[in-house]
Amino acid sequence: MRGQGPMSEDPMSAAASGPDVTSELLVVENLTVTLPTTRGPVAVVKDVSFTVGRNETVGIVGESGSGKSMTSLAIMGLLPRGALTTGSVRLDGVELLGLGDREMRRIRGAQASMIFQDPLSSLNPYYTVGLQIEEMYRAHLGGSRKEARKVAVEALERVGIPEPERRTGHYPHQFSGGQRQRIMIAMALVCSPGLLIADEPTTALDVTVQAQILRLLADLQRQTRTGMVFITHDLAVISSIATRVLVMCRGEQVEYGTAEQVFSAPEHAYTRRLLESIPRITDDLSADEVVL
């Protein structure tokens, strides 16, 4: 509807060398989400299509209310009650839309997991971070408490939390903002899912920490070959990590292509306005490098 056909007909020709974009992990086709409101149903996501390859990062960009988060919640089957979804979401060839609660639960966390914008409120303040990682591991892979604890310690170690053994017994409020997001990442990856959806994971963090978290995500992705959907309103961040970019505005997909295409030759006026709103992307990127 915006001059963009379904991506399956148009395999990426300008694919980046590293990520395996030809092997499709997640295929979203004509996804439409309608929410019931007091003034009748409102479509918050309209006819969105994109593909994520194994080990690839696809960025979804747009301002608040553009439908980015609704798209990710629709993939996870976590939309608010009464939401209506049409189209197709296939993960590893399995159609997710229309799956029952039980089947969907088996996929959440095990094959697709999510990290969120505010790591403090996204962790349960009443339980230790160790337990919150363990419960996820045990829900999908079983095992004793002791085994799960060992896995939790390893998971914290992998994301660079010092003294992981001791820290599993601590509560979320006892960590810094950056550490909390590291814990969220550790938790999301504890069952080695194929897909990680990161919904503005660095927005609530300050710039230095932001860069560290991005570096961590990139490192982990290299090790685990996880496909990633990275949602943000920050174009600088997207250009540094995504191979393909989807631009959304008011629930509609206004632009979709390789990061190169979108940033150097945006087709849509909205994308151009977005790009103009941040002066000199390249400078920002080199600033990230300096900080690291």
Binding site: M104, F116, S121, P125
Partner: protein, 329 residues
Amino acid sequence: MARYLAGRITGLVLILFLVCLFTYLIFFKLSPDPALMICGKTCTPERVTQIRTVLGIDKPFLTQFWDFLSGLFAGRDYGSGTNLVHCPAPCLGYSFQTNQSVWQMVLDRLPVTATLAIGAATLWLLAGITMGLLSAVKEGTWWDRSAMNLALGGASIPNYVLALALQYVLVVKLQILPFPSSVAFTDAPWLWFQSYLMPWIVLATGAACLYARLTRANVIDTLAENFFRTARSKGLAPVLTMRRHALRPALTPIVTIFGMDFAALLGGALITETVFGLNGIGKMAADSIAKNDQPVIMAVTLLAAFFVVVGNVVVDLVYTALDPRVRIR
């Protein structure tokens, strides 16, 4: 932790001391002369003076107050010579009406009030939390709206109306229950249960309705929390998701309110005990106020204050154990 506890206990003692002081002051200044009351109609001035001396109320206020306080902790003697009566600690004096030891009266009646409080609390927690939880999960449905309207109504009924209505319907009309009588649990457990059932329901109704609304609001808030969304995104079993990520956070604040309500109830349920003729602390308070029985009023006031103040400290300690974010320095 030790410093915190020491501070809290100091505060507790200070508040109880002030309650003592003001209660004593009110009776010293405002109530009629107990000697005249005890003496009765055929009274001589000599007899009045004698009673005053025995009770120690001929002394100045501060001396009397000191006698009262030291009596609480060390016991005290009334009268002298052959008339000497020793009142062992904790001495709350003797009732002007029955001449019984007030401490003994409290000990006799406390089990009744405690039974009432424990039974009612169990009932209102079960009913209130269940109702609130169901309403929260079914938010906006027909069930939710009717339950919440019912709760509003239930919370608005005065205890004496409910007590009389229940008695009329269950005892007089339907004759399902016997009229409440004071029987020991060990003598007749079934009759004991039947006797306490109505008072429990009366005491629990208002609180259950409030707790239902509170639980509903807290659970709805928690279901909208980011960490609940995280829990769902983790693919946990529904029971685990609800228990750890909805109920625990939603019910923890209710502990605070419950502690206070329960403590207040231990101080006596005046109306309910009176209506059902249960010999608890509340009935004792009502009787003593009606007859201006100062030592008993004093004891009942202190006891209620004691439960509320101690309840407060206990609630704080329990809360620090339940919410890891609250740390005691």
